[in-house]
């Protein structure tokens, strides 16, 4: 059995105001404070398009390799729902602003984008019980009404749930890099509906749409669940109806929301209150030229020009804040190899452990540079360096201060170390015998013993040298 997956993605644009009125585009405001006659559908109120929405939509379309249309237009999608006071959503149905784009996955597979269009968001509802079907009443907040969205529709080019997840992650990284959206799925700034069907040589299932997927992990989980469910039904000879299902993250399963028969009839027609949208060739060209370096290009540059390991380059190029930080560290004089290893393995590790997003100011570049330098010159041990870094992250203190306070300076003075080395050798006559019998690998054991006694402060290179000298001298 093979599956076919297509995605419909909605992205909130981070403009200052809504799409068709001058209300603030602010998702976390007090309920029903950012509303006006236009976004609440008062009679006679007229929409006026926000120019920044056009700018952002074109930027996204250019970054996603789309054909951008100089002429596009708006339409009304009609339906009744309490979160839609106008009774229709303004969207671009007949003539979208962009078509025919793509994103390339890491395995080289091209996932085509059918279209990108501008539209407006609906309000937000709070239901009186866990599920909407059980709710006896709901509360409506209209702040979200009219917040600008772009909808991105892919071709059904994905075969595996992990491809869908990778597509979504790449899309988020691109949207963030070009600064048009926060791309945050958990907060609803990026939302994804998935269409999936399953087939083999002989038969093919109906297409099922899965809604309410609210994290990157769940894109994959929901599709895995759904493909398994459809496959099982087909193998049992059951009919798979064409329907819309909702992902329920608490039960990790999908539930039927509505069947094809109850599918809405939206009666699209051209929005009479908005003239045709014309953007000049010059503007499109200007936007294309102004695009920043995108994550995949950046990753390639890090590998080819800076010699960064591919897996590190991929991580560093995802977020603009992180890549800028990395490049600043390199500019400050740290080698790209050291900078990438330290940032990916150590710095990000600290943020991940706390479940936080990377924030450069928590680990000032000059502090990180010092820690790396001190480690490279054996002023402090690698272990001590990690301790210092963790403290910088926690308190923002200067590394010098931390090293002094905690007495972490590495001891590489042979005179100071030789006594400890002698002590360890005397305490382990059996191991000394092994060395004399030719098992030279036990040197590491002695070095470890010295490190323990000095609480990690001894320079292991110097200790190793001393251990060998003493052992060889004894024989």
């Amino acid at each position: 059995m093979k599956s076919v997956i297509g995605l419909e993605i909605h992205t909130q644009l981070s403009t200052k105001t809504k799409a068709f009125c001058s209300c603030k585009n602010e998702v976390d405001a007090e309920p029903n404070t950012n509303i006006c006659p236009v976004c609440t559908g008062q009679p006679g109120a007229l929409p006026v398009l926000n120019d920044e929405v056009v700018e952002y939509a074109i930027r996204a379309a250019a970054a996603l390799n789309c054909e951008i249309h100089e002429v596009s237009s708006f339409d009304r999608k009609n339906y009744f729902y309490p979160d839609l006071p106008k009774g229709y959503q303004i969207t671009q149905y007949f003539h979208p602003i962009a078509t025919n784009g793509y994103i390339v996955l890491d395995n080289g597979k091209k996932i085509r984008i059918r279209r990108i269009h501008i539209e407006e968001d609906a309000g937000k509802m709070f239901h009186s019980s866990e599920t909407i079907t059980q709710a006896t009443s709901s509360l409506v907040d209209l702040n979200r009404c009219g917040i600008p969205l772009i909808e991105i529709v892919t071709e059904p080019d994905m075969e595996k749930p992990e491809e869908a997840r990778e597509f979504m992650e790449k899309l988020r990284d691109i949207l963030r890099t070009i600064g048009v959206s926060t791309g945050n799925m958990e907060e609803g700034a990026l939302r994804c509906d998935a269409n999936v069907s399953v087939h083999d040589d002989k038969r093919s299932s109906s297409r099922v749409e899965v809604k309410n997927i609210n994290s990157f992990k769940f894109v994959q989980k929901a599709l895995e669940y759904e493909i398994k469910r459809i496959t099982k039904a087909m193998e049992a000879g059951e009919n798979v109806p064409q329907e819309t299902r909702g992902w329920d993250s608490s039960t990790k399963s999908t539930v039927s929301m509505r069947s094809k028969e109850a599918e809405n009839d939206y009666r699209y027609f051209p929005e009479p209150d908005l003239p045709v949208l014309v953007v000049s060739k010059e503007r499109i060209e200007r936007i294309k030229k102004s695009l920043p370096e995108l994550p995949d290009e950046k990753s390639k540059r890090y590998v080819e020009k800076l010699g960064v390991k591919e897996e590190n380059a991929k991580i560093l190029s995802k977020e603009p804040e992180l890549s800028e930080y990395f490049e600043e560290v390199v500019k400050a004089g740290v080698s790209a190899k050291d900078a990438s290893n330290w940032i990916v393995n150590e710095v990000l590790g600290l943020f991940n452990a706390d479940g936080l997003e990377f924030k450069g100011e928590k680990v000032p570049i000059k502090h990180l540079k010092k820690i790396i330098e001190y480690t490279n010159t054996s002023k402090i041990s690698r272990l001590a360096a990690k301790e210092v870094l963790a403290e910088v992250y926690k308190s923002g203190k200067d590394p010098d201060e931390i090293v002094k306070e905690r007495n972490l300076l590495q001891v590489s003075n042979e005179d100071e170390l030789i006594a400890v080395v002698k002590e360890v050798i005397e305490e382990n006559p059996d191991t000394v015998q092994k060395y004399k019998n030719g098992k030279t690998s036990v040197v590491g054991f002695f070095v470890g013993g010295v490190m323990k006694k000095t609480k990690g402060k001894a320079d292991p290179k110097v200790v190793g040298k001393l251990v060998k000298q003493l052992l060889d001298g004894e024989s």
Partner: protein
């Protein structure tokens, strides 16, 4: 296009209204009349004309992305009831 009872029922559902039998008959007649009237358009020869998107030659004049506050209480006072500044509505799916 024939206006059938099924079509009227579909439109009733979409418009969230319920029509009486006599109203259904009247609406069917009205809609047939409207559609027949629109058929006149099909008689016009439009060869050589580009499709028209709007009867007026107006270009979109987008606005600047600058917030202008509006006193939301003017709108909220029209709501029959408010709960913590949210607008309560009755059940949507529950029967």
């Amino acid at each position: 296009m024939e206006i059938t009872n099924e079509l009227i029922e579909h439109l009733e559902n979409l418009a969230k209204i319920k029509l009486e039998d006599n109203e259904v008959e009247r609406i069917k007649r009205d809609m047939e009349d409207i559609l027949n009237y629109m058929k006149l358009l099909a008689e016009v020869n439009v060869d050589g004309y580009d499709a028209m998107r709007s009867p007026v030659e107006v270009k979109m004049e987008p606005r600047e992305d600058r917030p202008i506050p509006f006193d939301s209480s003017k709108i909220l006072k029209e709501a029959p009831k408010l709960e913590n500044n949210l607008i309560p509505v009755s059940s949507i799916h529950a029967k």
